[in-house]
Symmetry: C2
Subunit: 237 residues, 2 copies
Amino acid sequence: MNRHTVTAFDTDLAALVRDLAGMAGWVERSVERAVDALMTGSADTAEAVIEDDERVDQSDRDIEAGAVLLIAKRQPMGDDLRVIVSTMRVSQDLERVGDLAKNIAKRALIIDGAFHQRKLARGVDNLANLVLSQLKRSLEAFVERDTAKAREVWAHDTEVDALYTSLFRELLTYMMEDPRNISACTHLLFCAKNLERIGDHATNIAERAVYAQTGELIADDRPKRDELGLQDVTARH
Amino acid sequence: MNRHTVTAFDTDLAALVRDLAGMAGWVERSVERAVDALMTGSADTAEAVIEDDERVDQSDRDIEAGAVLLIAKRQPMGDDLRVIVSTMRVSQDLERVGDLAKNIAKRALIIDGAFHQRKLARGVDNLANLVLSQLKRSLEAFVERDTAKAREVWAHDTEVDALYTSLFRELLTYMMEDPRNISACTHLLFCAKNLERIGDHATNIAERAVYAQTGELIADDRPKRDELGLQDVTARH
């Protein structure tokens, strides 16, 4: 491969990664706004998130098509091919995050208005802030090829799990205190679970950032501490 | 490209698709056994599913590596490249299905034993059977390049949504009747949601089967009817 070809490939790859960064911006905004709709009860905000999901899905399809075209045109090998394939996988993770944000927005439209201002909103908000920070940093790590940052994101997933578990306990307690809370709290449980899963996608993206650069997988020996460690709550009631 | 090269590519692609079919077999078995553990309360079965997930994750990594190697070695264009990329995407869907089965198995270990034999087990079992049939048929459609079967799977997702919605209502009712049901029913709600999401992955795989063969996307105008249409239940309590 001569110098000219390599440069053309680099230019094409940079454009693809730029598209991914643009998609990431949309997805992060959707998560922010979905949580905002949940906190404030704003139907307009929720509906905007639901509408924007089509744009996210289209971005995923465009990035896959762009990646396939780039492979066909430049026929990259080794490291270059691994980076392109990783870009497609990150795009798929982002597409799923968009779906999860849409699901939170739909629940924001349904949940009883009285809940929006309650103290448990604080728990959801804390979890959302942490998860959003993880998502943003994982994308920065991927785009900037910063494996140290990626490893940091990966290590911080335990904090997401801990916050989620505490929120899960809290919501279960409200349901047990008063059956009238059950419908709303069930939706909030799913919102909390969606946020925890967005955190998992951020971890996937961080793993991808390391893999794309080094070809190495971060060993998956991270202790997974979610609400499924909650035997005590289950036993008590 | 001469005739010899085309044949070598076809042989390599067939091997990759065979690996995917093998992975699918493992994943289907995991879903079956996870639901079995939920029905019977068998801790051995649940733990076997949790252990097997590592094998599923490894299959996904192997298929991606095989696909990347195949692209690098044969430098396919057009239709061939689209089939390989689609194989990777289906592998990622199956890897997620494996995670969802593992999550059901974990919940089977936690849920109060008294629930295992109860009437609501029937609802979960019906949903699981339908979802498993969808998953198997979507994989057959992909492997056998049968776009008619793929479109059938795609159309049947509304049945999954309807069964899930009815189960969701039923579980919510049990929680409202008696707060002592809340912990177990919350886990069953998440199990039901996991099954519904496995159904979504089957739909993704069916869409991929059509796309891999034709390059066309099935228009996503399927009416999505899940429990988020349940305003009435929310309003009543």
